[in-house]
Amino acid sequence: MSDTIEADVTVDARGSACPGPLMDLIGKIKSVDEGAVVELLTGDEGSKNDVPEWVEEAGHELLDTVDEGDYYAIYVKKT
C-alpha cells in the first residue's frame, strides 16, 4: 500500500516530540501546492494519533499511516 504512495515532499520530524511534528507538517502543507502529497516521518505516538485529527479538521486527505518499525510515515494530500 505504502509503496504506491509517491510523496512530493518529506518532513522528517523524527526525534521531535508533540507538537513539533504537527507544527512542522502544518508549515509544510501551507507552503506546497494543492494536490501535493506530504510525507511526515515521526516516532511520536501522540503525533501519530493527533495528526489525523488535524488533517480531518483542516480538510486535507489522510492517505495512509505506515508503521516503519521505530517510526511512522504519515501521508497527507493537500486539498
Partner: protein, 133 residues
C-alpha cells in the same frame, strides 16, 4: 466564536508550555489566537530564564528537560514559529511590567508583538473564547 483569547498568568512551566502548544497549533490551523501574558507568567519569558532554562516546574517539566531521545520544542520556539505562519498575537502585560520594572528588551526576542493593557486585551477578546491559565 472566532478564536481564542488566552490569559497566561502563571510561570509554571507546564502551564506555559501547554498554552504555547494550544495557541500555536490553533493559530497555525488558521484559528485566530491572542495570548496575554500577565503577572508571574512574564517571568518565564525573561531572557535570563530562557537562556538558563531556569523555570518553575514539576514532574512534566523535569521529564522534558531530561528527555534525551526526543526534542520537545520550547514554548518560545513554538510561539515564534507559529506567529510567522498563523494569526497569533502575543502580548506582554504593561501593568505587570511596570511593577516588575522590566522593559521589552528583558524578554526573549521573537515572541511578543507588543505590550498591552487590560482594556486592549478585552477589546481583542470580545469575539473570542477566553481561556484563563
Amino acid at each position: 466564536m472566532t478564536g481564542y483569547a488566552i490569559v497566561l498568568a502563571s510561570e509554571e512551566f507546564e502551564r506555559v508550555q501547554a498554552v504555547s502548544m494550544i495557541a500555536s497549533v490553533a493559530s497555525m490551523s488558521d484559528t485566530p489566537v491572542e495570548v496575554f501574558v500577565t503577572m508571574n507568567g512574564l517571568n518565564a519569558f525573561e531572557k535570563e530564564a530562557v537562556e538558563n532554562m531556569d523555570f518553575e516546574g514539576g514532574r512534566v517539566a523535569n521529564a522534558m528537560m531530561e528527555a534525551e531521545d526526543v526534542e520537545v520544542p520550547l514554548f518560545t520556539e513554538q510561539l515564534e514559529q507559529a506567529r510567522q505562519i498563523g494569526p497569533l498575537n502575543v502580548y506582554a502585560c504593561e501593568l505587570a511590567m511596570d511593577l516588575l520594572g522590566t522593559e521589552m528588551d528583558d524578554y526573549v526576542e521573537g515572541v511578543f508583538d507588543d505590550v498591552l493593557g487590560v482594556s486592549g486585551f478585552l477589546n481583542r477578546a470580545k469575539d473570542k473564547q477566553v481561556i484563563f491559565v
